[in-house]
Every structure is written in C-alpha cells, then in structure tokens.
Symmetry: C2
Subunit: 122 residues, 2 copies
C-alpha cells in the first residue's frame, strides 16, 4: 500500500476538497440542464443569494478549470472569433447531480426555516 488512497480512508474529505469553493457545486447544478456558455454561467452565479454582484472572472475561471481538472465538466471551445466556449457536465459530473440534489433537498428542508426551536434536549 504505497500511499493509502485518501479517498478510501475518507471519501468525505476528498469530496470536500474536490468541490471546495463557493461556486463549484452551483456550477455543476447549473450545468445539469445542459451546456452553458461562460457568460451564462457567470450571469447565473450571482453573489449574495439575492442576486446583485457577479462573480469575478478570475474566480469563475479558476473554478471552471478546477472542475475540468477534476473531470466533472468538459470545456468546448468553438472556433476563435468571436470567442464562444461551452461547458457541460461529463459522465462523472452528471453522476454527481443526484448528490447535489440531495444536498439541496436537505438544505431546503433544514436551512430554509428555523423550526429548530423545540430541540433543546432532543
């Protein structure tokens, strides 16, 4: 056992590392409906949750590259001018969608409403 595969000893840590960052999961989620262009992704990824400021290109670029490197998304560059690039989920990325869905579901259920008032001793 050369290096004791970290993913085996702790898949959660590996997962967290892979989707670290504030936008990776959101990007994956956005891409679940089909390919999207750089600008579209950017417009969809508004900060503040209410939708005001946009993510900076530097950050988006990094996230996109990281996701590509992870094999979750694929980059498709059309010709040259004017620049047009599409990103889409790979098979691996698609397999992640249900997981994200589970996360979203849990979040909606447990983070949307406080309701946690009667669990003092539970």
């Amino acid at each position: 056992m050369a290096k004791a595969n970290p993913a085996r000893s702790c898949p959660v840590a590996a997962f967290q590392k892979m989707i670290s960052g504030k936008y990776k999961l959101r990007i994956v989620w956005d891409l679940k409906d089909g390919p999207r262009r750089y600008g579209e992704i950017r417009s969809g990824l508004l900060r503040g949750a209410n939708g005001s400021a946009e993510i900076t290109p530097r950050v988006l670029s990094r996230e996109l590259k990281a996701l590509t490197a992870s094999g979750l998304i694929a980059r498709k560059d059309f010709g040259e001018v004017p620049p047009k690039v599409e990103y889409r989920l790979t098979r691996k990325g698609k397999s992640l969608v249900p997981v994200v869905a589970a996360i979203r579901e849990w979040g909606e259920r447990n983070l949307g409403e406080p309701a946690a008032l009667a669990d003092a001793a539970e």
Copy 2:
C-alpha cells in the same frame, strides 16, 4: 421579504457554509454511531487520511462549537471533575447522515479509482 432567505435561493451555498471546514462532516459521520467523548472524536479525527497527526484542540473545539451552534450536534457536560463531555447528533444532525452517506458513496465510487481514462469525449 426582509432579507430573501439565502437557503431558499441557494441551499447548496448554505449547506457548504454550514459544513465548511475539514472536519465537520467527518465529525457528524463519527457521531452517527452514537455519542462520543471529546477525546474519542479527537482520536478518530486523524489528519493525512492515513492516520498520523491529530487535529489540534483549537480547531476541534471550533468545529464542535460551530456544529453545536448550527444545531447539528448537542453537547452534554457531565459533572465537573474529571471533565467528561459527550457530543451526539441532534435530530437535525441525524437527518444529515443520509446525505453524508450519499457523499461518501459517491466519493468511494468516483474518487477511489482513477478509471477516468476513457472519458476524453464523453
């Protein structure tokens, strides 16, 4: 609509924020089998994935407090001396376990083995 609940607009972001940090999910996972003492959690949370260094008390303490504040775990302090404290999942925390399980499963399946050699164009 005072502040446009972030969890509704983006549960994923809220989730990520709640379990931000390298150990929170692992702690939740460790606690799924029942209450555990501070030291037990600490011993179980080894760094490097192979199991060498331990998490520092400062960090563990912070994670534990954050999880408690989030309502995912509960702290039970037995008497005074010698100090004995147990942590256990709350109802909310337990509801998170399946999600973590899904994450683990995905991680084991997709991060354990490379296998991503034939997905150049997929």
